[in-house]
Amino acid sequence: MRFVLLLLVALIVFGAGGCIWLGWYRAIPRVQPPARTAFPSAAIEHGAVLAALGNCVSCHTAPGGAPFAGGRAVQTPFGTIYASNITPDPVTGIGTWPEAAFRRAMRQGVDRAGDQLYPAFPYDHFTEVSDADDADLYAYLMTRAPVRAGVPANELSFPFDYRFLIAGWKLVLFRPAAFRPDATQSAEWNRGAYLVQGLAHCGACHTPHDFLGAEQSGRSLAGGEAQGWYAYALDHNAPAPVPWTADSLYAYLRHGWQAQHGDALGPMREVTDDLITAPDDDLRAMVAYLAAGRNSPLRHRPPPPPIAPPAGRGEALYRGACGGCHDNSRGPPFAGIDLAESTTTHAPNPANLANIITSGIPAAGEEREPIMPGFGAVLTERQTEDLIAWLRARFGAPDPAAGIAAAVQAARSEMTQREATP
């Protein structure tokens, strides 16, 4: 017994010691914040495009806060991580970081002072970004307006609050490596692969994660989770009842919606809002990469929908609350999307359907975009569950009854939280 205890203590001591040793990075000395004139304007402009492709602003901006000034809470299974301030403020931002420190953060997930960064910052993807692109991203960020804004301390459960342990995580689950092009593929495919795997970090949401928070190997883009939303599979299991084409995928990324596939919502809406400034060639390249190969979403063949509508309490609710818009021949933009063609009603889990029914699709600022009223105010939890169960059965979702109660509960608590915060 004593021996086992000793062994355990030794393991913990050596494990922690190993992490400290492995994770020991020297601090890179501070520099004076570089002047705007230190950067060629072409670099800054290209950096802006890259920052949009990487959707940096989404995580690094608090709701209602200044862009890139950090503070947004990122929920993880291990607790809440607050995104850092990446404006060039010398005190609270990255103003004193030399380019080498920025590049090290992107490539290796280590900050200027030498501390480990949590992989909520997706350096498992950003490690593939080229030195030249890192330099332009740096030029763009260092020429933003500096914002003095501290960020709340992370709220992580023990032992995840010890940063040095990340070194152990990296030892097993992370390999810093630049992107290696595949000579057998076209230049467009390689450009797409570089973006999808690297800067655009699609897998950070669209790939399932294991219990250690790492992307499951061999299941790239097989469908994941992001902030209470299901991030659809982008491989041959893409649940769209209308199979994707290269053109419809491109249109969806370009405009944030596509007539037969509907609207980008939740975190994906933030991505497509950012992609507005992305070059056509880059979007086409990402589509070319995603659409190639035997796991292409273009190869998805949806199962036929059920012939007869199922019985259930949800049917009358559907007729009364949804049918007016969704059950007619007018179609968008004069009525709702045909739910027989909707990815949401066919998804492997009901999270997104619960979110949309509960909170609707809010109008997006000045843009002309789809809207839908939320029904969280008038439907009880039970009624929402009934409606979802019927919709998923009606339109042939896989395992239509599974996970509904949890999804509705999560959607409703999100609604209540949103109402409580001004």
């Binding site: 609710l317 009364g320 007016g324 809010p362 809207i371 105010a377 008038v378 109402e419 001004p422």
Partner: protein, 158 residues
């Protein structure tokens, strides 16, 4: 089925998927809520359900058993307008007036949970309701005015 409207229970005989708006206007003669688009997009039909603003045109009555519905009629009358109605009159916050009832109910939902809303909060809360005449600025002012009146009254009551 039984509908609880403005604190009173009404036994009405309608199909379960009848929109609440039709029940209010057709069965109960409560004509405050208006039929606008019928698609939950304009807000002319807004009422409160358990304190939250809801589009009554896309709310089937079957969903409302046991819930408290509040319509414009309960906020005051022409002779004795409530604070929001009074503020809308003071600011002359109507042109054709078709959206007004819905606007007032949307504002009522806001002021019930927050009686000191900022300008930004008022704008965000009123966002789902449309006015096609161009009275928006007056409507925003009226909501701010009503909030101040309600606040003062609350403070006077200690």
């Amino acid at each position: 089925m039984i509908l609880n409207v403005n604190g009173q229970e009404h036994d009405i005989d309608v199909d379960p998927d009848t929109p609440l708006l039709y029940a209010l206007r057709g069965e109960l003669g409560l004509n405050g809520a208006k039929y606008g688009c019928g698609l939950g997009q304009c807000g002319a039909c807004t009422v409160l359900v358990d304190g939250r603003a809801a589009f009554s045109c896309v709310t089937p009555v079957m969903a409302l058993a046991g819930k408290q519905i509040v319509t414009l009629e309960s906020l005051g009358s022409a002779d004795n307008p409530g604070p929001l109605q009074h503020a809308f009159i003071q600011e002359q916050a109507a042109q054709c007036g078709y959206c007004t009832a819905g606007m007032i109910m949307r504002a009522e939902a806001l002021l019930r949970r927050n009686n000191q809303p900022s300008e930004a909060e008022i704008r965000a809360a009123m966002q789902p309701n449309l006015c096609r005449c161009g009275t928006q600025v007056r409507i925003l002012r009226a909501v701010g005015r009503a909030a101040a009146v309600i606040r003062t009254a609350a403070e006077a009551h200690g």
